[in-house]
Symmetry: C2
Subunit: 109 residues, 2 copies
DNA sequence: ATTATTTATTGCAATGTTACGATAAACATT
DNA sequence: AATGTTTATCGTAACATTGCAATAAATAAT
């Protein structure tokens, strides 16, 4: 007990939950916003910008990368991060479809 | 250590994180989808539908209600839950704006 | 070669999440 | 009044998350 019972949900429900969870932290939202604004960035930029420890930023970047929201390529001594274009569009679509599922109705409480 | 440093983020970043977190669980996604499809529902419907314990469903409903995504009104012995129309539209807008922040660019890694 | 720069990983402490059984509370039915 | 129905809350066990210091690893500069 105490661990999510993923087996009783559909793949789509589990996948959407993983994506939302990856974004569900102010630091990761801030990181995504920073990357969106500056197109690319490195870990050090974010450490300065956000004021979190280097290890913490690195951990958040890893989570975003694991979820497929960003990608990182080694550039000499540093790693260049940016939004993962294809996955971001997929994300947009998946969340969009989910949110559109509600149509205002008067059958409400 | 170990607790999110909300004070270093903007209100908007923190609020969006709270909303995303409220949805970032397969059970809560399933609950929202069920409510969207059936317009209204009670705790008991969801216990049958999802196969989670009554206490667990109640807890998830509470989280969704606290985040403002759903509303519940007492109807005799049971509680009728439905999507919170205004907040759902706000959510749509907030997430939409966030996701639109990325414009595909060739300045990538 | 040595030193500097940059990021990832490890280890840890504090806190949060998830799930469920048991129980309480509140109304409906008999 | 006693019983049934429905939901919320409490307590608890098992993980999971967050954040940081310390350290490792890998390239760049001197």
């Amino acid at each position: 007990m105490g661990l999510t019972r993923t087996e009783i949900f559909t793949d789509e429900q589990n996948k959407l939950a993983v994506l939302l969870k990856a974004m569900a932290h102010p630091a990761r939202i801030a990181i995504l916003q920073y990357i969106m604004a500056s197109k690319t960035c490195i870990n050090g930029d974010l450490v300065e910008e956000l004021g979190l420890a280097q290890a913490t930023i690195s951990q958040h970047l890893k989570e975003l990368k694991t979820a497929g929201l960003i990608q990182g390529t080694i550039e000499g001594v540093s790693v260049c991060y940016c939004i993962h274009p294809e996955n971001w569009n997929l994300l947009k679509e998946t969340i969009g479809t989910f949110l559109k599922g509600y149509i205002v109705s008067n059958e409400c409480c």
